[in-house]
Subunit: 172 residues, 4 copies
């Protein structure tokens, strides 16, 4: 059923309706509502499946690890699967639908957890890790949502450098 990712790729999120998904999957509309609360949840689940593919980065310096983490994330977003506009649309949906916001936040949290683990390997105790995560993911989402500014490898490197400098030796 999640093969309705096809629709996302071909026609974009806006053209995806519950009817469309049902028709494309050869399925009754009710069947979709039986399992999900709406199209947003379907797409989110489809995306979650896909997101499992992002590899946890190897071990190096904090700078290098953060750089690698975001570089691979950026690569996925620029990829051929139209992930970026879909993520934008899901974030939009999360703003408009209270119930969906919680599920979406949980999805985002999984990524956050991965980054937190990475930072904690390097950061000194007491460093403002949570705030740094907010800033790093914040920068990602900020560019993702509003950006004309591209998400390229150079930006990943800058994030890595700033993260390293921000956390180094700070016994806050």
């Amino acid at each position: 059923l999640e093969a309705s990712l096809r629709l996302l790729r071909q026609r974009g999120y806006a053209a995806v309706t519950t009817d469309t998904i049902a028709a494309a999957a050869g399925v009754g509309k009710q069947t979709i509502y039986r399992w999900w609360a709406g199209k947003a949840e379907v797409v989110l689940e489809a995306l979650t499946e896909q997101a499992r593919a992002v590899a946890a980065p190897a071990l190096g310096s904090l700078d290098a690890d953060v750089t690698a983490f975001f570089a691979s994330t950026f690569r996925l977003l620029r990829g051929p699967s139209s992930t970026r506009p879909v993520l934008k649309a899901l974030m939009a949906e999360a703003q408009l639908d209270q119930a969906f916001e919680e599920r979406f936040a949980a999805f985002v949290e999984t990524r956050r957890t991965a980054l937190r683990a990475l930072l904690l390997r390097h950061a000194p105790p007491g460093a403002p890790v949570e705030a740094m995560i907010d800033m790093l993911f914040g920068a990602l989402w900020y560019r993702l949502l509003l950006g004309r500014r591209p998400l390229h490898a150079g930006f990943a490197r800058t994030l890595g450098a700033l993260a390293a400098r921000g956390l180094a030796g700070s016994a806050r």
Copy 2:
């Protein structure tokens, strides 16, 4: 007409439709479409009016200035005028409507400009100011959009500290 901020405060963004605004303002729907492209633009304009109030921060260290900048921004968002849910809804609209995204980006850019000016007063030449702006505003939006995590003065202080450390002496 912008007195349709009343609707936002009282009933939330979801209850605001072009029909609703028109009815509340005692105005024909067509009249609204004559002057704006849709409800999002009306709300954006109403908000812009309101946003002018945010004071430019005083002069101190980079740390202190950034802290003050975000502290006052946070104060506005926590304020009684329901600014936060409205900003969320506008960001959502920006994701769904290509045309509106540009106008909304321009609105955001005005805030960005203010922060940039502030940072440039303190940052050494060659410092990654743009990336730092992305991170600072990113953190703001990230918490604003998804956050269970609150936007309080403590977070502003942390942002100030991290900004100072990130930009200090970096001749990147």
Copy 3:
């Protein structure tokens, strides 16, 4: 299983769906479809059981016999078992479902046969008995389906009188 008459009485025909009957009878839906073609057939069978109770009228004049026939029929329809709305609903179903129409017509025919036997006892040869049956049962159904007009004993008497006058001495 026909104890789904309970549903008819309590909630009306509209609330009776195949699912409802199945649930109320503590039975799988498929089991119902194994034995009947749909809810209408179930109800019809339940009703047939109940209709056997209507007594064949005694012997008197044509007038008296017809009066008695309809008086007892009317009594059943006004009875506590909600027969009237159910008959209405079945007639409706018969209009919408070709297959069911035939079964329902057969059910109606049993009543028609009873009345025909009664009329033939009194009518002179060549009298338009069939047309008179159409008119008598027609009047019944007409009031049953559309009637604000009630089905009371007085109407039965009028029908008896008109039947007698219509058939008497007519060698048409």
Copy 4:
């Protein structure tokens, strides 16, 4: 808009849905619901328009007038405009929908009024005119709804004869 009679003729009542009518009329679905409560009301109105065509019968004997009245009615029902199945379907709808029943009864009442006027011209005072109307229209509907039995001119003649005999000289 009532040119959705076309749909009735071409595809039958069952195939007529609110969507279908809207599409065929080049009209939004909402527009239909703005003016009618559902497809039944639309069809009823369309039919009412058409029914105005049935001429009031000329003046003769009671027998002749009643015969003429039903002969012309039967002719319409056998006509090319599929009136018969539509009437059946509307009667069905009236049984299932309380609100529609009232409107449909009003429609039927207009025909009843015409027949009443006709009978009153001939019947002696005190004759059971209402009951006779029930029987005559009853016979019509009975055959219409259930009948294998056809609605032809001969039946109209029989109805005329029985009506005359039933009402003649009866000072009930």
